[in-house]
């Protein structure tokens, strides 16, 4: 797998026309493995070109960075970064917004289901232990 991607250096954001506010060392290819599957799923070759994967990773990281910074700008008025601010930013992109709200509500449902399961499991365990003692 080539590490000499067509994209820019690993320390700066791809194609950014502004200096980044948080400079951090980002490892190359953090998302590479999953991105290969993702790109194939969305229509690329089963084995996407390494240069393409690297470029998509740079672009995706820049996308996330800019989105999150914008959300922070909104949220900073309230002093926090919240999901609501983030959802507000993507409000014009209906498919993304729908998908996010769907996943978030499922996530919540799952949390509740897990809570019930854990409390049931705890009760069962206690009954079992009481049985063992007698």
């Amino acid at each position: 797998m080539s590490n000499n991607a067509a994209g820019p250096s690993s320390k700066s954001k791809a194609g950014s026309s502004q200096p980044s506010e948080t400079t951090f060392k980002r490892k190359r290819g953090v998302f590479q493995k999953e991105l290969q599957h993702m790109m194939y799923g969305f229509g690329d070759d089963p084995n996407p070109l390494p240069e393409s994967v690297a470029l998509v990773e740079d672009i995706a990281v820049e996308y996330v960075t800019d989105l999150v910074h914008k959300a922070q700008d909104i949220g900073s008025k309230r002093g926090k970064l919240s999901v609501e601010d983030f959802l507000y930013l993507i409000r014009k992109d209906m498919p993304k917004l729908n998908r996010c709200t769907e996943l978030l509500s499922m996530n919540e449902e799952l949390k509740q289901a897990r809570k019930v399961f854990e409390s049931d499991e705890e009760k069962l365990r206690k009954v079992f232990e009481a049985d063992e003692e007698s």
Binding site: Q18, K33, P46, D66, C100, L104
Partner: protein
């Protein structure tokens, strides 16, 4: 049971979601036969955590796979109509299409990796789970936008084979023009 097998075996469990939520769009994408598909070596890497080796991440990854199946079950309850349509579509897939669809469904940004990225971007000490969920979903769909647009660019140029960086750059440019890429506003220096 291997979550990968579970996903394959029971079509019912596949949640009827698509990036665009538009059945026609999804059909066009997946019913067009592709002729250059080799069998992808997915099984080996899906469901295993190869990036970081520590136990915490492995547990998280396993939990994510189980969560994935549970989430699909919950989604299944929501809209039987949409599910029926999806099942009809899936039943007509060739093996190659099914493999691609599975890749599409199962690929995701790893929670731990996304969390690290968000922590370094925001400079915060913690990131809430809903935030990670929302950002990961949005980022994945954005990758979808890029890849699909890149394929459109390729067909206009009558190119074939794997997507090349030049296609991706053109796709990115077009998405920016469409306003689908957030730009932080540059301060106006001269009015």
């Amino acid at each position: 049971m291997d979550p990968f097998e579970v996903a394959f075996e029971d079509v019912e469990d596949l949640s009827p979601d698509s990036p665009t939520d538009d059945p026609v769009h999804v059909e066009n994408q997946f019913l067009t036969p592709t002729n250059s598909l080799t069998s992808p070596a997915l099984a080996a890497s899906t469901g295993t955590n190869a990036s970081t080796g520590n136990n915490e991440d492995e547990d998280e990854e396993e939990e994510e796979d189980n969560v994935d199946v549970n989430i699909r079950n919950i989604a299944f309850r929501r809209d039987p109509n949409k599910l029926a349509k999806t099942r009809a579509m899936l039943s007509q897939f060739t093996e190659a299409q099914t493999e691609r669809y599975e890749s599409f469904r199962r690929s995701r940004f790893k929670k731990a990796d996304m969390k690290k990225l968000l922590l370094s971007i925001t400079g915060m000490k913690t990131i809430s789970e809903p935030m990670i969920v929302a950002v990961s979903a949005t980022a994945k769909m954005f990758v979808g936008d890029i890849v699909e647009t890149a394929r459109m660019v390729m067909s206009e140029r009558k190119d074939s084979g794997p997507i090349r960086p030049c296609h991706i750059r053109e796709a990115y440019r077009r998405l920016k023009l469409e306003g689908k890429v957030p730009r932080r506003s540059v301060p106006r220096l001269f009015q």
